[in-house]
Structure formats: structure tokens, C-alpha cells
């Protein structure tokens, strides 16, 4: 995890597997280093009358922590993941229907929110839902000396001064979602965005490889 000075940004070892669950319409498991999340997508299915929107699909995201009940923190993460997916999905192609995305946390070792986002994107792709663009999650930590570490582990996150997670879309690498913790300067923010945009190219390349690997087995 060198600092951002030179061009190459190191990310932890990624692993992804698609349609591993039979019941959901689309599913994926995503590993970033030791952090791993399982995602399942159900839909487009029938929607409750109270939640029905006449010209769009209703997206609902449920985050299950590893142990115990989901608390207020998971609620904020659910809101971020839901609105990011809504930005990428073409919901108006399935009006008056419901999409449910369930994210089950298997192990948390830092960069949790970006792992949720990557798993969500892969699951939506696996479910064959129409999307205007792909998106990926990148987490940057600013440590005490001001260096920017991409995809930090839990230990690095704890001693970092600030932590930022961005969702970057695949067409023009612009920021869809940003969620931050700790205080930082404007310059550090712009630097982190630049680093994340560069890191997202690597992640999108990883997306293409894993999808190509999956379809190579079938063709």
C-alpha cells in the first residue's frame, strides 16, 4: 500500500464468484483481502401496493451484519447502497415491480462499504438487470502523515486520521456516492478522488476478467 505519489495503486487480493446461490435471481460473493460479502438479488417481483411507484421499480436493500440485529449504522449504509444502485439501474424499464438486494456480511477486515458496493454491482449484473453503467467502491484512508492508502485493512483504518469511500461509475469515472469519516482538507479530498478514479479502472478490469472467466466456462 504505497502512498499515492507514484501511479500504481495497490489493492488487496480480490476474489469474486457469481450465481452461486440457486434461490435468488442473481447472486455474487465478493472478497477484498479478508473482507467478504455475499449478495443476493430478487426481482423484478410483485410489489406491495403501499410501496408501488407507477413509473419505476422499487429497490429495497437489506444489510445483514455478521452477528446480531442490523442497527442504525447499517441503515445509513443501506441508504448509500440503495441510492447508488438506483443511479446505475434503469428502473423505469420495470415499472410497478420490486427489486430486493440482500447483502450478508461474512467477514469485515476494512473497506466494508466498498465491498458491499462491489458485491451489489456483481449481483445486479448476474441477475441480468438493465444498467446504464457499472459502479465500483473504493475506500481511501489518510494516515497520520497525510499519505493516502487505498483499500485499507481494518488495522490501517483504525489508526487513519480520515476515511473516505467513493462509488465511481464506469463511463466517465465520476463520483456517484461519497461517505466519509474524520476531518480532512479540501486538497486531500481532491487527491483521494483522483486516486479512487485510477483505482476504479483496475477494479473494472477485474470485473471484466471475472465475467469473462465465468462465460468462458459456458461458451
Amino acid at each position: 500500500m504505497e502512498e499515492c505519489g507514484d501511479t500504481n495503486i495497490t489493492l488487496r487480493e480480490f476474489g469474486c464468484e457469481q450465481s452461486l446461490l440457486s434461490r435468488p435471481d442473481g447472486s455474487s460473493s465478493f472478497m477484498q483481502g479478508d473482507t467478504s460479502v455475499l449478495a443476493g438479488v430478487y426481482g423484478p417481483a410483485e410489489v406491495k401496493v403501499s410501496k408501488e411507484i407507477y413509473d419505476r421499480a422499487t429497490l429495497e436493500v437489506v444489510i445483514q451484519p455478521k452477528v446480531g440485529l442490523s442497527s442504525v449504522r447499517e441503515r445509513l449504509q443501506e441508504q448509500s447502497v440503495r441510492e447508488t444502485c438506483e443511479a446505475a439501474l434503469l428502473a423505469s424499464l420495470h415499472p410497478r415491480s420490486s427489486l430486493t438486494l440482500v447483502l450478508q456480511l461474512l467477514h469485515d477486515d476494512g473497506s466494508l462499504l466498498s465491498c458491499y458496493l462491489n458485491a451489489a454491482c456483481m449481483a445486479l449484473m448476474d441477475a441480468g438487470l438493465p444498467m446504464s453503467c457499472l459502479f465500483c467502491g473504493v475506500t481511501c484512508a489518510v494516515n497520520a502523515e497525510g499519505q493516502i492508502i487505498t483499500d485499507p485493512s481494518a488495522a490501517q483504518e483504525k489508526e487513519s486520521r480520515a476515511l473516505m469511500t467513493f462509488a465511481v461509475e464506469s463511463t466517465e469515472h465520476r463520483v456517484i456516492m461519497s461517505s466519509t469519516r474524520g476531518s480532512f482538507s479540501v486538497h486531500e479530498l481532491q487527491q483521494c478522488i483522483a486516486v479512487s478514479q485510477k483505482a476504479s479502472e483496475k477494479i473494472f478490469q477485474f470485473y471484466r476478467d471475472s465475467v469473462r472467466r465465468r462465460y468462458s466456462k459456458i461458451l
Binding site: 442504525v72 443511479a87 461517505s179 469519516r181 476531518s183 480532512f184 479530498l189 481532491q190
Partner: protein
């Protein structure tokens, strides 16, 4: 039939205004609604503040209670914020447990307090490992007309500056503390975080301080929290259409100007309250 246009095709109605760089209530794109502040109105609370940003009204009451600190952080007190959206403030909220928006707001306020370290939790500790304060910051929206997060942060900050904690002395032999309700001293406020919320219309037009209607029609909304040292405490954009770097920079500069404005307003109101005493 014009009134019909507003309810039948709200998005078209708003677009027609945005084309001329103004908004249905006559404001500029980058103009805030009038913000009024009233401090110390609730005598049963240790600190209270009422904020009105246009129609959006939020009241924050702080009650301090005594408890023993956790084992891992023996020298730290607690600060427990909570945002409540009662059915009173808008017809969209149903009675019952807090909905997703209320919970997300509570977590956002908790994150802002932690990241901006507006007060040090060490100041809340009375006796290391034995006794400390817990500040229950109960933020309640009385009239929901959009831009809830900004109003909550201003209300919380003003209420914290208005809080007076009673003096507590611990006699070595008697394990129970001795509370002197008359003699009270204030809280030490280190930083003054102020939030500025923006809304994006059709992925391009950026408006500040959105009303409930504009929030409903916008394709993305996000909040920037800055403190007096121009450091960013939070850049919270839950999603929606993407945003380019320059637009983000534009928003941050608007946010720092807003921070100055609000800090002046708070100090002015505190002076007038002190003068009145």
C-alpha cells in the same frame, strides 16, 4: 389551469423556473432561505435551541445524565444524538418506530459529531473509570420542508453552546456523587461544524438549501459539513446521479461561506441572550 400544472407535472414546472436561474419561491440557485435561531427556550432541558431554515423547523433539547464509563474507554463520557421525525412534522411520516430517513439522519449526526470532534468526550468525564456524563441530544423536526440535515446540525451546535452542566463533586468516603444544581458551568466547544446541502436537477443544475418538493424531484442530493478552519468534516452523498470534480469544488467554496454566515449568526444570538440576562 396553472395551479393544475404544478401538481400534475411538478418536474416540468420546476424546470421552467430553473431555466431562468430562479426557483418557484423566488430564490436564486445559490441562495439560502432565511435562517432564524432561538436559544435556551426550554427550561427543563440543560441546553436547547430552535432553528427555522425557511419553513423547516427543528428543535434540539440536551439532557445530561450520570453513568459509569465503559471499561475500554474509562476517561470518556458519552454523547448520544437522536433525530426524530414525528407524524407531526409532515404527513409522509407515520407514527411508530423511526423510519429509514430518521435513522440515517441520526447516524449521520453521530458521524459528524465524531469526525468534527465538536466537543471532546474527555471533558465529559467526572471521575476516571467511575462516573461520567452522558449527553442525550434529542433533535426533533417540527415542520419538514426539506434540508433536514443542515437544520439539525445548526440546532445541535447552538444547543451544545447553550448547555450548562451542574457541578458534581465526589466525596472520597461516600461513593454517591454530590450534585449542586445551582452552580452550573458551560461546555467547551472546540469546533463549529456547519452543514450545507445541495440538490442536483437533471444531472446538471445545482441548487442549495432544497425544499421538500425540490428534494423529491431532484436526481441527487448531498451534504458538505465544514468547520471554521475550512477543514471538511463530512462529504455525505448517498447516491443519485454522478458529480464531477469541479462541481464538487464549487459546492465546497459555497459551504465555507455558509459556515462563516452561520457562526456569526450563532455568536450574535448568544450575545443577545447574554445581554438580556
Amino acid at each position: 389551469m396553472a395551479a393544475g400544472f404544478k401538481t400534475a407535472e411538478p418536474l416540468e414546472y420546476h424546470r421552467s423556473f430553473l431555466k431562468e436561474n430562479c426557483r418557484p419561491d423566488g430564490r436564486e440557485l445559490a441562495e439560502f432561505r432565511t435562517t432564524t435561531l432561538n436559544i435556551g427556550s426550554i427550561s427543563t432541558a440543560d441546553g436547547s435551541a430552535l432553528v427555522k431554515v425557511g419553513n423547516t423547523t427543528v428543535i434540539c433539547g440536551i439532557k445530561a445524565e450520570l453513568t459509569n464509563p465503559t471499561v475500554e474507554a474509562p476517561s470518556k463520557g458519552y454523547i448520544v444524538p437522536n433525530v426524530d421525525l414525528p407524524p407531526l412534522c409532515s404527513s409522509r411520516f407515520r407514527p411508530g418506530p423511526p423510519g429509514e430517513q430518521a435513522q440515517a439522519a441520526s447516524q449521520f449526526i453521530a458521524d459528524v459529531i465524531e469526525s468534527s470532534d465538536v466537543i471532546q468526550t474527555e471533558d465529559l468525564c467526572i471521575e476516571r473509570g467511575k462516573l461520567c456524563w452522558v449527553l442525550y441530544c434529542d433533535i426533533m423536526c417540527l415542520d419538514y420542508d426539506g434540508n433536514l440535515l443542515d437544520a439539525c446540525i445548526i440546532a445541535l451546535l447552538a444547543a451544545l453552546k447553550n448547555t450548562q452542566l451542574p457541578e458534581v463533586t465526589i466525596k472520597p468516603e461516600a461513593c454517591t456523587p454530590e450534585v449542586n444544581l445551582e452552580k452550573r458551568n458551560g461546555l467547551l466547544i472546540h469546533k463549529h461544524p456547519v452543514g450545507t446541502s445541495f440538490c442536483v436537477f437533471d444531472n446538471s443544475i445545482l441548487i442549495v438549501d432544497p425544499t421538500a418538493e425540490e428534494e423529491g424531484l431532484s436526481s441527487a442530493h448531498f451534504t458538505v459539513v465544514t468547520d471554521e478552519g475550512d477543514r471538511l468534516c463530512s462529504v455525505h452523498k448517498p447516491g443519485g446521479t454522478a458529480l464531477s470534480g469541479e462541481k464538487l469544488q464549487e459546492c465546497i467554496s459555497r459551504a465555507t461561506a455558509r459556515q462563516r454566515e452561520i457562526q456569526k449568526l450563532i455568536d450574535k444570538v448568544i450575545q443577545s441572550v447574554k445581554a438580556a440576562e
